[in-house]
């Protein structure tokens, strides 16, 4: 008998993963995998799936354990050496507040979501990759929580992040985004989170926060960022492989996938509005402007990605031109809103100083001086007169993205954009064409949105008064409001004074 040939790596990996699976006979396959057909996606041959990376569990444990050992050594050293005193300024902590209350809980949702697809996609190849991503996402939640835990010991606005995430009005923006993905079918989840979020938009979320940490002396968070980089690369590879696979499997998948790409691009763009405000206004030391980031990571990188996907018939997401145009505006509009509302948020806001405003003029030559500087100058004047401006009403929210209706018409930055739909005799309001389209496509899903302002009116948020609602949100008295004169500000000044004094002695 001729000696049998030994296997190559690819074949061996196939034996160690897809070879494990079998076609069930004692139970129907459709009962074992009950959720992967209703979305209309047609898969003719799961075995055509190309494993984007070949990681057996023993290697996974080994690599990940090594990374964790290093990361926790840095986290421990950061705490021991009071690394929080070496950040650029206590204003930077606002960035961590936004991250821990708005993003980390979504890492957790991604963990459970990938457990869902890791169990319920019929193909074994993607299932294994999803399970590893599920573990990674749990890692990201937990390491972020451990990293920021040290800041929580000194600064306000971090302590109740979990409860805040479930209740606070602006945090319903990320929460509804991920609830939307989690409640979608397994294929839509993969396009929403695996492709749109982890592939198309990840550089606009992950990089700004982690580079922001690096630029602002937060060695602990940036070490997490470096440590998570290789996980993120794996997630991106999975995201791109999924979309190619779906498009290659059957031509009928294209229109479905295109609608998902349109939807999740727009939803992601709206969610990233929070990041735009962070990048342009909250980082004491700036990495780049939101507009620059959008140009590099979406217009250029995203553009060539979609160019590559053209061969499958996939088009650039609907309203991408509107998004690019809006990048001249959204950070100013949202931070302007936060400035007026910070007393009812868990975040601090402050007036950008002259140097900062000049930077904004330089980065936004078409819009900042023309539309936004005058607003800030007016508020600055009011501050000088001892009348810092706060808005005391309740805002109307977009029914889809749940951001306040603050964005302007695509071709007219002086007019607020309002869109409306009627469904079963009720009226629903939207901030944009993109958000209206999303609702109109699945109204029966979106009518159940837990809209924070409506919930306040219905008496579901602690009571009828602002203090009742803030108590329900579990905001501490020093969590939000004006930064100057805040507890965080005073603490920071006391540290700086102590350091200067020590140095002088």
């Amino acid at each position: 008998m001729a000696p049998t040939k030994k296997m190559g790596i690819k074949q061996k990996y196939a034996h160690l993963t897809r070879g494990l699976d079998w076609e069930t006979t004692y139970e129907k396959m459709d009962d074992v995998f009950p959720y992967d057909k209703f979305e209309g996606i047609k898969i003719t041959d799961w075995s055509k799936w190309e494993d984007p990376f070949r990681l057996t569990m023993d290697s996974y444990w080994k690599f990940q354990a090594e990374k964790e050992r290093k990361l926790y050594a840095v986290i421990d050293a950061f705490a021991q050496n009071n690394g929080q005193t070496n950040i650029s300024d206590a204003r930077y902590v606002n960035v961590l507040k936004l991250f821990l209350t708005g993003i980390s809980p979504e890492e957790y949702q991604a963990h459970r979501g990938f457990a869902f697809t890791g169990r319920h996609l019929r193909g074994v190849g993607p299932r294994v990759a999803c399970q590893q991503q599920s573990l990674d996402e749990l890692r990201h939640f937990q390491t972020q929580c451990h990293t920021i835990s040290h800041f929580n010991k000194f600064f306000n606005g971090l302590s109740e992040f979990r409860t805040m995430h479930d209740r606070v009005f602006y945090l319903s923006v990320p929460k509804s985004f991920f609830d939307d993905a989690r409640t979608a079918g397994p294929f839509e989840f993969m396009i929403a989170i695996g492709f749109a979020f982890e592939y198309v938009l990840t550089n606009l979320l992950f990089v700004p926060f982690m580079s922001g940490a690096a630029y602002n002396g937060d060695m602990s968070t940036v070490t997490f960022g470096f440590s998570a980089q290789s996980d993120e690369s794996r997630h991106m590879t999975l995201g791109i492989e999924v979309i190619k696979f779906l498009l290659e499997q059957h031509p009928d998948n294209l229109p479905i996938v295109q609608e998902w790409v349109d939807k999740w691009f727009w939803r992601g763009f709206r969610l990233l509005g929070l990041v735009s405000m962070m990048m342009d206004y909250m980082l004491p030391k700036k990495v780049m402007s939101w507009k620059e980031a959008w140009e590099i990571y979406f217009v250029e990188a995203g553009g060539s990605l979609f160019k590559d996907l053209e061969r499958y018939g996939l088009k650039m997401p609907k309203y991408h031109e509107q998004a690019t145009e809006a990048c001249e505006h959204i950070s100013h509009q949202l931070y302007g809103l936060l400035y007026q509302l910070s007393h009812v948020t868990g975040l601090h806001a402050w007036m950008p100083d002259d140097e900062h405003m000049d930077w904004l003029s330089e980065k936004y030559p078409n819009t900042f001086d023309k539309y936004y500087r005058p607003r800030f100058e007016l508020w600055k004047q009011q501050e000088a007169e001892g009348k810092r401006f706060y808005y005391n009403g309740l805002l109307q929210l977009c029914h889809t993205c749940q951001l306040p209706m603050t964005f302007t018409e695509p071709d007219d930055p002086t007019t607020t954009c309002f869109r409306e739909s009627e469904y079963e005799g009720q009226h629903y309001h939207f901030c944009s064409d993109g958000c209206k389209d999303i609702f109109d496509r699945e109204p029966e899903k979106y009518i159940s949105s837990w809209l924070p302002i409506q919930q306040i009116f219905q008496g579901n948020c602690g009571g009828p008064t602002i203090p009742d609602v803030l108590a329900y949100y579990m905001f501490g008295p020093n969590d939000g409001g004006e930064y100057v004169g805040s507890e965080d500000n005073k603490l920071w000044e006391s540290w700086k004074n102590a350091t200067t004094k020590e140095a002088a002695e």
Partner: protein, 329 residues
């Protein structure tokens, strides 16, 4: 004499997060396990009904018949969070590597008779499919379960079962000269040989189980406690001179069983102790799935070891365990 480095004093304002402090009896330093686990999963104000199961929210206590006042009662005595889990498994895997190297260096499997090799391929290697089914079940418990204290360790178990399926596969590759033919044969046995059909049916029955805690009981007391326990420990006589290398190469599985049971048994115990109703429900599930596992195992051990009694021995052992967890069997 002591050496004291002079540092500036920074008095913390608080020691841990609010939701953690409320659970551990006040603001005091919390462990990493606690901060990584307690109250992590969202619990309220969900936005949309799952398209695939609109009768529940995506996080919903109604997905099991047992009722817990608080799903953060069953904590993990191992206190695993992602880092400690991976470090523990990486360490365990170092001995796996050493054992494989030892067995390969001494050619302990290569020198076995073809007959014995075939016996192992047919009798042992299909266990990798049992692990794969278990991986599906534990992923399901994570996605479907309630509360991070319960669901996070389920995902760790999913990783473990995939890892163990791959260890068994590696044993198969040692036996088939790294060709993969043995794995194909083993799969054929899993699908068609009478010996495995009871076990395959049992595993497939669990794959359609929608109550996440019944699934947990079936997995822990049925598949882990009876089937896998017997496969790795009850067949030494059948494996003959291969029993030593096989025990070496399945050391991970035996260590894992003991370690994982610290968590899974304590979880069953706590959930059953919650109320008389829970105790009755969990006891009924335990009896049922241990019985079914015993039936499934009987065909297997009869065919592989020529001994039906092994099944009873292992099932009875698991019944004793179940009783020790407060269940009525």
């Amino acid at each position: 004499m002591t050496v004291e480095i002079k540092t500036m004093d920074f008095e913390p304002k608080r020691h841990t997060f609010g939701h953690v402090a409320r659970r551990i009896g006040g603001d005091k330093p919390a462990s990493r396990y606690q901060e990584a686990t307690l109250d992590v999963q969202a619990t309220e104000n969900f936005h949309y009904r799952p398209l695939w199961e609109p009768e529940f929210w995506h996080y919903d206590t109604g997905k099991t018949k047992v009722v817990m006042e608080d799903w953060y009662k069953p904590l993990d005595p191992r206190q695993y969070y992602y880092a400690t889990y991976n470090i523990a498994r990486a360490n365990m895997n170092q001995s796996v590597e050493r054992n494989f190297t030892f067995v390969e260096d001494k050619n302990l499997l290569g020198k076995l008779s073809d007959e014995l090799k075939q016996k192992l391929i047919i009798g042992l290697i299909p266990a990798r499919h049992v692990h794969w089914g278990s991986n599906m079940n534990t992923s399901e418990m994570c996605q479907r379960g309630y509360g991070t204290a319960f669901t996070a360790p389920c995902m760790f178990s999913a990783g473990d079962h995939l890892g163990m399926a791959q260890i068994v596969s590696r044993i198969g590759l040692e036996l088939d000269g790294q060709t993969g033919n043995g794995l194909d044969k083993a799969k054929d046995a899993w699908m068609n040989d009478k010996a495995w059909q009871g076990i395959r049916k049992l595993v497939e029955n669990t794959l359609v189980q929608r109550d996440f805690f019944e699934l947990f009981v079936a997995q822990v007391l049925g598949i882990n406690g009876v089937i896998l326990e017997a496969i790795y420990n009850g067949l030494d006589d059948a494996w003959g001179e291969a029993s030593l290398p096989i025990s070496m190469l399945s050391e991970f599985m035996n260590d894992w069983q003991k370690e994982e049971a610290r968590w899974s048994h304590s979880t069953i115990k706590i959930v059953a102790a919650e109320s008389a109703e829970n105790k009755a429900i969990v006891s009924a599930w335990a009896s049922d799935w241990i019985n079914r596992a015993e039936d499934a195992l009987r065909t297997y051990t009869a065919a592989i070891a020529g001994d039906e009694n092994i099944a009873k021995t292992y099932a009875d052992k698991e019944r004793v365990t179940a009783k020790s967890l407060g269940l009525e069997i």
